[in-house]
Symmetry: D2
């Protein structure tokens, strides 16, 4: 398989959908992105990297960081204990629904990939790391991706934190339900979360993260970057909950575990062992990159990645 040629075909197919996507406008800084910018990267099973399009362009990781936050939670707490705070159930509700929270069995977030779930995850890390929590998350991101230059965007962070009414509402509901400990400072907690969402990556960075998750935690040099069991749990939740309330359709159409972010990135995980990341900031109605999803359709098909 000529990966480079395959990636080019995915790109060529993807950009035919470029008019369909809509750039996220609820965060002012994101609204500035250029929806014609498209990129993709694949790390082959031997570790060699192929890219297409705007491969150097840095965008904010957004919800994709929920993978890393939940990984850190798994690394610090027992899985059964975590279930008391964050479920692993798929949800047919939009990612920021407060209704979903109030109706869920024990008022806990249904899974770690809705906003409420990531905020509770962050609060569990905050218990251990306090004001160093973001530094820990950033360092873990650098290690997983193998790129110590990774940093967050101050302007996107400022943009997020100034308009995050629904995330604040969720946080106070979680405090009210005693899911988040009352001694946490809400501003400090949300600043960690917003900074995490503002981490800048390019498609090759995403592909490296994907590579680790896809190979039970091992990088191309064979070094164990995270626990194999944690990688498996993450792949599973990506499969059932990774693309918001579109996860059911995504499973049928693309068929691989994936996690998207409203910044326009999508990262996959596939036991076949490839690392894959795509980018285009125009989103579909569910908050997933329109062109990115179409690119994954080609990639998954040509590399026979469908897990079902």
């Amino acid at each position: 398989m000529d990966i480079q040629a395959m990636l080019q075909r995915a790109y060529d197919y993807g950009i035919t959908y470029i008019d369909k996507g809509v750039v996220a406008n609820y965060i002012p800084e994101l609204a500035k992105e250029d929806k014609t910018r498209v990129g993709g990267a694949v790390v082959d099973t031997d570790g060699s990297v192929y890219t297409v399009g705007s491969d150097q362009y840095q965008f904010s990781i957004q919800s994709i960081v929920k993978i890393i936050i939940y990984l850190c939670v798994l690394e610090h707490y027992d899985f059964d204990y975590i279930q008391k705070f964050i479920g692993v159930k798929p949800s047919a509700k939009p990612f920021n629904s407060i209704l979903a929270l109030e109706l869920s069995e024990k008022n806990i977030p249904v899974n770690p990939f809705i906003n409420a779930g990531a905020i509770v995850g962050t609060s569990l890390l905050f218990r251990k790391y306090g004001n160093n929590t973001f530094e820990m998350i950033l360092k873990r991101t650098q290690e997983l991706i193998g790129n110590d230059k990774i940093d967050y965007s101050r302007s996107i962070f400022n943009s997020e934190s100034s308009s995050a009414f629904s995330n604040r509402a969720l946080t106070y509901m979680l405090l009210n339900g005693k899911i988040i400990s009352p001694d946490v400072n809400v501003d400090d907690l949300l600043n960690v979360y917003f900074k995490s969402c503002s981490i800048l990556v390019n498609v090759a960075d995403l592909a490296q993260l994907s590579f680790i998750l896809s190979r039970d935690g091992k990088d191309s040099a064979g070094k164990q970057r995270c626990n194999a069991e944690h990688a498996r749990i993450l792949r599973t939740i990506m499969a059932t909950c990774g693309t918001y309330d579109y996860s059911g359709e995504f499973a049928i159409q693309i068929g691989i575990p994936a996690k998207s972010g409203v910044g326009g990135g999508i990262v996959t995980a596939s036991r076949a062992g490839y690392g894959i990341g795509v980018y285009c900031p125009g989103l579909d109605a569910h908050g997933n990159s329109y062109v990115g999803t179409r690119m994954l359709e080609v990639i998954a098909k040509e590399l026979s990645l469908n897990i079902y």
Copy 2:
């Protein structure tokens, strides 16, 4: 009618229920109240005042201040305009339900007597008075009651503001839904609301407020303390929404417009022209004073106040 003797009968009947009530415990300072403390006051149609029990004891006004906040809103905005921000619909949901808000037609609070409705009302006043909003509300309370000594309790205010997760969640949901203007400072806004809830009154103060509302705004000297039309609107909303999700049962059992607070006070409004206030901090499951409700049962019956 010997009002004093009637009031004594109400007291004697009410205290037989003293064990049934439960003191509110979600605000630490309220939890200290003595649930055997009972008081009542009636202002006769000629203005003479009768009291029974702990008539000098000062307690926090709590949700009863929602009457005054909504009156201030009516005094500053057109009624039709207010409908865009706060409805006048009864609700069968508990006073602090976030679900009720998310499910309501336009995401606006269903009425001014649920927490969300009072917070939106406060935000409308904040637009006009900014950091002087609480002073305005306090002054208006003093004028209506005719007692310029009325002040708020610092300890109850501190107690409320430190544990108000659900009110903060509601406020951020209202900001998210653009029902509250985004340029308001949430802490400042909620401080006004919490200070308002912490205003200290005794049963005679409540009876004077009741007297004004019952007489289309006129005090015993014939002075117009508030607009007659506003008094009518408030009496109506007290009838349909005044005792939380118990309003339907209250209408059948007692039959007069009333507004309760979790501090233990209840104030009524009745076109028959009496002023009535009762107090006992033990609450029923809906948040209304247990003994107070039973006292009103006697008072409403003996003075033939049932409006239906």
Copy 3:
């Protein structure tokens, strides 16, 4: 007061709104009604009857029969026992909401004036009267109104029963929740309910029903047609729940207990002692007669009927 002239003024004012109403179209037979047909009737406190407009026109009673069904329930069961099956809480949800039912505290209908409440009421009567239940309800209607010619419309009954999916859904939910006894035949039960809704009345009939309710059960000859306490309970529930999710607004705008039906009729109850019925089949968005509501605005004002 010249009642006839007053009624004419109400009519003249009401018909200026004739274009605003929309005839109910969910029952085919109702959709045929002429929305320019308007009628009104007032029974003065001495029993004399005044009418205006289409005073002889017979229309289906629809939800107004919920008053009579609940009265029959009150006449056969203890009030506290009834509370286990049907609440008395106002609701901000539309009259046929299944959601409202699922969310209510004990899965019981919140009040007797939503469809679920009337169906449960009918089932309680069915326990006692079986296949004679409708005959009993019809006879009680004739007695209350004092008109033994009152009958139901076969064509409207057929029209209702053939398109009543949401009422059947509600009935099976109530069976599932054990609120309705499992040995009742659903078709038989709903036929009783649909026949009851199809009872034909004119505005003078409604005004006679109103007269009884308004005078604690007594007719103009002083004969007790129903229990005074039952009349009081019905007036109270009409005040808080009588005009569906518009009840809160109706209380402020009109200020008298009333019950509307999608047939276009509205009946009131007022301790001032008048009997009042109005009709026009064009409805507002909440299911209440548009012109009828406007006529009541004039009548309530001119006769000083506002109870708040």
Copy 4:
């Protein structure tokens, strides 16, 4: 791999949980099942069959038939057209929740594996086959499993149809929302559905169904029993929605597509190419066979079937 020995280990492990399950009691006939009865069957990739425990015992297929109903729908309608009537979204709500239906985007069942979804699927088949619909479904079941003796249980069918209030409520809601065509007879429609749920199978039958689904529609003789694409779609929905609101946890714990029924059976689908069926009528709180799930834990692990 010695499949027989592996199956025995699964059995031995599974029965240690035998006290944890609870036999379904909402259908009287099911309540009679013996919760100590346990069976399992595996069809090896070469077509040879291995069984353990009560391998001849016939139990009702219940919700597992939803696979076959949806397969028939896929065989008669275009996938995009089907999406207008039945979604493919996972749900965190219980299988019979009416709330889930009312809250879903277009009032359509979120997926084909909740009751509402299977009833709508049946109604789509009813459009084509009318009163022969059940015969068609039964025949298709016989063909897929390769066993023309398969029949349904009259006693279980009678038991189901006499106590199916929530399914009737769902059906009328779907009629009300125009998701089911109004000319369908509800009794006829539900009889098809209840008969389908009452089809009797043993674990070897389930394993044969699993074998077909697992091998893209081919049986052991290489004959195409259903479309490969349809098998893939079914495997995907089994993965995301197959074990009710436990699907997220099941994916993490067991990791293979599966569909359970309240009769106690579970069938899996796995591209590795094995056919697997297990049985024990004691259920967990989500409606899945307790012992069966534990047996699958061993089987999935020993055969390395986890797809994530």
